[in-house]
Subunit: 357 residues, 4 copies
């Protein structure tokens, strides 16, 4: 019962099959292979962006940092929420890859940039040669708190950026989960809403380790390639990145996996509400922060359930005191694991374990 | 008939099997999984270095750049040959990850640092606050020209570095190929010969994309971890890196693959010498630069053989004029492909293609 | 009537005389001259820190950035107020010189770090390999809003830093003005209060362009020298930096100048209060933010008085509406200029201009 | 008798007078003052370049590094001689300010780039995404060995750069000395000869510490300003930089000083040849490397003469053995000091010391 992270889940069997299929004889290296070409074509198709520059990298930190480096100058400010992954969880990778741009963390109640707060932050820099200049805005959806920007909210953020002539990057580490939550098209969620570049995640949604950076304006595509190589993210055996991403986008696998993860989470939240659980932010996709009574945590931990618990102590105190935790479902979680988790939470006998997928 | 690069070869089936085996249910992310622990243990064992710090990354450029960044200060000079991969083929990644250290390219006749040239280069810097300071030495073996440092040669280089108190890094992108060429132990080729840090390559020798950085002095292990994360090389689904490397080191697979690659190259060189081929540098492992008569190249290209040709023009000129090319075998090349290549070179009918091992 | 900046003021005649005196014949370059030695000795004496490392640079941005670079790793967070000069007014110089450390701006009501806010910020980073690590704290006094930390307040900030094992830097661009405001000793205001490194400003207080970085623990003195040279701040004709700083510290000139500037400001504030002026933050030294009725600004501007006005419009609106401005006095301002400014503010005839001291 | 460096010489009295003149009352800070405007206008006039971007900085390392940073991308190679100041004497400042570009040191017999060696170096990079890309060429004149490029030689170098579409930077730390040696115009020596950016030195030729970066194409002027501020080279009391440079360019002072320095060196070389001195490279300006018999050095050192001696030992060995040294004259050296030096070298009684001009 691992609800710690969608990074803890396995790779989808169809992706593994694609890797094995690609593992036949020799193939051109460094991205000149046919799987990479196919992945690129499919991403352009999915985004309805036939001219977009598409580049694969292996980690979400690489995708974000290289996208931001391509959009920002070293003397720029980059605008993000105070809880942005790029701000809190990348150990200054954006500062490294941008050559020392400055991240401006903006308070964000639901982990979403609001137009007002963004405008105020952007207005306060770039006044002269002494100040950090106005650089890109980056927003994450699914956010780091499990919420999802509506299309209107995305557009409101990009509108502020455009007031200042600044480009917008979307950290889509959980892009598919946000997309199915909105029931929107990739184009609607991105370039039609004013987004210039996307980190299109795959790893958290059933791949082994591939993310695509999509630049809707391809003018800086070659610059991106140089940056990617220099960042040690140009893979020699690139076909294995291409094969994963191509399989991901075949027959809607990526959407099916996201729906499965979001669906499992919806069941889980419903069950935990019944047990006294209170979401800290409105659940929208496959990631949720919620408060559960201490005794519920005690029961869960006793069965070996894995997830992040932020408050404590676990062992002693009022059994009804709500303690904050984070739970994540991935494509492989399945209703069986949810049932077992809920049974454990309720102190009931556990139903038999069902193999994932 | 792809002799362009060992990066063009496939992943060994036992490595693919290990990936599938590791793809079971949930596992801790970011390197806390058991496969990574196993890979680490095996590397320490293979190197007879129970305390070594071992960290996996996904590309050779990452391994070299992060190792050098850990050994060098931003105001240091890093000493390498003029043809070092880190100097010529990493698009300034070492400069990025070291924060701007300076690479000092040293002329090297066989792509090997000589003690005299190294001493002269090291003596010319670090004289005062105005000069780049003396930083690490990096040597590559198998070298970029296909030669291999003897143990004596490694020791002679590290001895010069030690005269100046400088650490030594070994770029072992083809570590296994050098090792079996020398019939030495990993410890003899590295720390017993004065090497402080190794980029222990796997990708060119049958893995999908894993290299290990081995620091024999583990004092900077945590610093390395921070640098790795910041460099976007800490993988969330780390188990797939661990599983590859663990399989690589099981039952001598890594040595068997290197022997197969070197063996194929030995056959190839022997055959090409008979056809007028002249190695530009003494062949020692799985990579060779040699000159072949123009007509031999013409015949090879006519059959679709793939490899790097550095001189020309191919189409016209004296049919006997020798033109320089580079040929590489990998673990999967096999005697069949060599036979076909030699037949093509000789203008004979091609034997049937045999599926790679 | 220039109250825009203490950077707009002239160099003190005794400092000019020292420059002329130092301009005799040849002298060793790059800091090996006797004026630099004298400046160093005097700074150590003034700080009662005989072992401190003392290095001269030419700008405040250089002093801050190089001090922070010496205290922070590239993967660290640096804690400052949201209005810190290093955060807002140095165009990402700290990010450049630290190699990409992350500035964490902390809300600070009076431009002073509070122990609670600092503790909370420091507690939220450094939790693991994914997060920026805990690096130095930097505080400015005189603050960017004109307030001055009491000794207790400095000690309270450094105590929090010490809880986390972090070093503390003081941006003392207006060090002397803070010191005379507190009537404290340099040692009390710095190392005895837990400060590890100081940017000891001279330029704003009557020098042409010299600041000293004082590191109370000299262990990193050589590293600082390398960083300074690499940062293009090692002057060849260093004697002219040394001569300025030595003159500054002779016969208490630096304190006299600071007292003159603070004294002029005290008169100014008193006079402006009488005209309806309301300080936005408690005036303490030579820099003040205050609100003045629109009509007062109109009168001042009509006479050509120079200073920063942050609210508007100036030309139209309620004549009594208070509009925020910033005023700065320097060593040369003198009571005459204050009288003229106050007369202009009051709409009275201007007394004759007196040449600055 | 200080012949160690033109950095050891004093500031010209007319420059000191200009500083005192500029030290009157308040003036706008950060370059908005009238002295900076005047200096800019004069530089444009002197270079016959009315649109050039002109920016003052305080050190030669800053001028070179910021000029190169403006011309190079972080993934570029920068081509220079192996003895270039930017390569050997700036402790990796170019790597810092460019964000990690790679310096390619090219062997250069007389410290001058030859077209052939440059073409060969430029041809060997930029072949693909793996390689450092072709960035700017930088040449120094007066060179680091005391030679001066002829106009033909400058044009030959820039022609090669243009073949590859690369811009050219000139390190003119001793620009005036080269100019008077050639009897050329600034425009002829720079933009008319294909140079795109110049570090126009003043410090070594009688200023206190000012260099101008001149960009003949002003398109990146604002970028330069941001880089300069971020590099901590934007001076608050900028008038003192402007005043120095304006005085330097008034009534040909800069050329007179350079002629004086070159003239003193011509006398010195002539006298030393008579004493068995042999220049290692052809003397052309105010800097010379030559070999003098050991006994000559012994006599000179006995009188306290200061200069760099590169071979030894001084104390013992064949009295006639030639030992390499470097001698530099500056504007203030004067014939008297040359006579004294020659008398000391010859073992004759020293004429009385004459105060420098």
């Amino acid at each position: 019962m691992n609800f710690a992270s969608d990074n803890a889940g396995p790779v989808h069997p169809r992706v593994m099959a694609a890797l094995i299929e690609a593992n036949e004889g020799h193939a051109p290296s460094y991205g000149a292979d046919r799987w990479t070409a196919e992945a690129t074509a499919r991403i352009r198709e999915v985004f309805e962006a036939p001219d977009a520059a598409v580049h694969l990298v292996a980690t979400g930190t690489a995708a974000n940092s290289l996208a931001l480096a391509t959009l920002a100058k070293p003397w720029d400010a980059i605008f993000c929420t105070a809880v942005a992954h790029a701000q809190e969880d990348e150990t200054n990778a954006p500062e490294l890859f941008t050559g020392g741009a400055k991240m401006i963390p903006i308070p964000a109640p639901e982990a979403k940039l609001t137009p007002e707060a963004l405008r105020s932050a952007m207005a306060s820099v770039g006044l002269g040669v002494h100040n950090p200049q106005r650089g890109p805005v980056t927003l994450t959806t699914v956010t780091e708190r499990g919420t999802v920007y509506s299309l209107e909210e995305v557009r409101a953020v990009t509108a502020v950026a455009k007031e200042f002539g600044a480009p917008v990057h979307m950290d889509g580490a959980r892009f598919a989960n946000a997309l199915v939550a909105l029931d929107a098209s990739p184009a609607d969620m991105t370039w039609r809403a004013g987004v210039d570049a996307v980190s299109f995640g795959g790893t958290k949604n059933g791949l082994m380790g591939v993310e695509a950076v999509v630049l809707f304006n391809p003018a800086r595509s070659w610059e991106f390639e140089l940056r990617r190589k220099r960042a040690a993210q140009l893979f020699s055996k690139h076909r294995y990145l291409g094969a994963q991403m191509a399989a991901y986008l075949t027959d809607g696998l990526w959407l099916d996996m996201a729906r499965a993860a979001n669906g499992a989470m919806a069941l889980l939240v419903e069950g935990l509400r019944a047990l006294g659980g209170t979401p800290a932010w409105e659940p929208a996709a496959n990631l949720v922060f919620l408060r559960l009574p201490r005794q519920v945590h005690q029961r869960l931990r006793a069965t070996g359930a894995t997830y992040y618990l932020f408050e404590g102590p676990l062992e002693s105190g009022d059994p009804d005191e709500p303690l904050l935790c984070r739970l994540v479902c991935d494509w492989s979680t399945g209703p069986g694991a949810v049932d077992r988790f809920l049974a454990a939470a309720a102190g009931q006998p556990l139903p038999p374990s069902v193999p994932p997928c």
